[in-house]
């Protein structure tokens, strides 16, 4: 199921992500694509808050992967600096696609063929200084949207 939602501020993006977190049950793989500054890390911060993660979620561009513990485990990947799919094996990516864990991957579209079938696709687009369009693509369900839009 596809759907587009507009966010008017980083706070709104975080709240939307936090409500989506309430609909997750583990085993999900979410790819976030979009230019630098489109709010990907911001979305993950909201998701983490919604999963009850305590502590800070930062951009993992440098370390490539960071894991957090909340109601479910959250594995936060960032493929910004990666250039070859061969590296994903080394990262243990597949071990992170497990029940009880949510894997969220910034710049995941770079290695489409390494992602599982159930991957949920979210594209974030920049509209103006604060406004972003969130294009929810394949993998998202009516329940996800119901959760997100029930403020």
């Amino acid at each position: 199921m596809r759907r587009t939602i507009t966010s008017h501020s980083p706070q709104e993006t975080k709240e939307l992500a936090a409500r989506l977190a309430g609909q997750l049950s583990g085993g999900e793989v979410i790819v976030l694509s979009g230019d630098l500054g489109s709010g990907k890390t911001c979305f993950v911060q909201g998701l983490a808050a919604g999963l009850g993660v305590r502590g800070r979620v930062r951009s993992p561009s440098f370390i490539i992967m960071a894991s957090y513990h909340g109601r479910l485990h959250l594995h936060h990947f960032d493929f910004y600096r990666l250039t070859a799919a061969v590296e994903l094996t080394e990262l243990g990516l597949e071990e992170c696609y497990t029940a009880g864990a949510v894997a969220v991957i910034e710049w995941g579209e770079k290695f489409r063929s390494c992602l599982p079938r159930q991957t949920m696709w979210l594209k974030m687009e920049w509209r103006d200084e604060n406004k972003r369009t969130l294009k929810f693509g394949r993998g998202f369900t009516a329940d996800h949207f119901a959760g997100m839009l029930n403020a």
Partner: protein, 332 residues
């Protein structure tokens, strides 16, 4: 008798080894940088980085030993980075270090990479704890209170991007080659620092934390608004660098003054930035002093690891088989 330390650093891009005598005389300090390899790929490639570290460790060790005029029997202590960093490269370096210590039956000390940066300005007695340490690089932005006896306290850190990461990403978006953050500095020399005014990120909760994601986005917005002529490119580089430095300097001095600390230390790759150094000097109040490592010791290197390891050893630290690499090692 002299105590000879072999330092090993493999936390990310550089394979480093250094030989240090009695914590003060550098017998050898060598670095095998992967920057050229990474430039080819436009970034760090962990799998390749791990393999390169593995290939380079033995030749690098032979070359530092030759430079120091020693053989392996002359090494009394091994100091190796155990985190934070990329787990693959960390494991390669630490396993090598542990095997070496075991084979030679000499002590090993695991070093926190951040502590290496913090103490690199202390090298040769230029400054001693207590001081306020700022580490700023592509992976870190941390403000740490450094007390005597390795009493460290993390006071503030970034909430999103690291300072060097913001410089790297904006530089890359401007089309600068890897490592783009360092290239911004030379481009900025030709630009107007006041051409674009970026907001100083203020934390609503009054915290001293850093945030660079907002100004990164603002810089990208500038690039979208108007075509980047060479003139505007230099202006944007200068203005953005100014904004990053302004935030680092303002926050650091605010914390130092509130805590009544007079000595400041800056380490990490961005500490080599000339504009950051000058801005700190300009803003210091009478009685305040700032210390930077030599430019060559700002970016990752093994001398700082050897030195921090030596200090820890002198304080009684000994690590054994249980020593483990930790990608997200905290400073304590």
């Amino acid at each position: 008798m002299a105590l000879i330390t072999l330092g090993i650093e493999t936390s990310c891009d550089e394979t480093g080894m250094a030989v240090l005598e009695d914590g003060q005389r550098v017998l050898a300090n060598s670095l095998y940088s992967q920057v050229i390899i990474h430039r080819k790929f436009g970034g760090v490639v962990p799998e390749i980085a791990s393999r390169r570290h593995l290939l380079k460790l033995v030749p690098l060790m032979e070359s530092v030993l030759t430079a120091a005029g020693l053989d392996l029997g002359g090494i009394d202590l091994i100091a190796a980075t155990r985190g934070p960093g990329l787990i693959g490269p960390l494991l390669v370096g630490l396993c090598f270090a542990k095997a070496l210590a075991l084979a030679r039956n000499i002590p090993i000390v695991g070093v926190n990479h951040l502590e290496g940066h913090l103490y690199s300005a202390c090298f040769n007695g230029r400054v001693k704890p207590p001081f306020l340490g700022l580490i700023v690089s592509g992976g870190h932005t941390e403000l740490i209170s450094v007390g005597a006896g390795f009493r460290h306290r993390l006071l503030a850190s970034t909430r999103d991007d690291a300072g060097g990461e913001a410089l790297d990403k904006v530089g890359k978006a401007m089309g600068l080659p890897y490592p783009a953050g360092a290239k911004i500095e030379s481009l900025a020399l030709r630009g107007d620092r006041q051409a674009v005014i970026f907001p100083l990120a203020i934390m609503k909760d009054g915290s001293d934390d850093f945030s660079f994601s907002g100004i990164k986005t603002a810089a990208l917005l500038e690039m979208r608004k108007r075509k980047l002529t060479p003139r505007r490119r230099a202006d944007l580089a200068a203005s953005f660098q100014e904004a990053v430095c302004r935030q680092l300097v303002t926050r650091t001095l605010r914390v130092a003054r509130r805590r009544g600390v007079k000595h400041l230390v800056v380490g990490g790759g961005v500490a080599a930035n000339g504009r950051l150094r000058r801005m700190f000097q300009e803003e210091l109040a009478p009685g305040e002093k700032i210390f930077f490592p030599e430019k060559g010791l700002c970016t990752d290197n093994a001398l700082m690891v050897a030195y921090a390891g030596y200090l820890r050893y002198k304080a009684g630290q000994r690590d054994g088989d249980a020593l483990e690499a930790k990608a997200d090692l905290k400073i304590t």
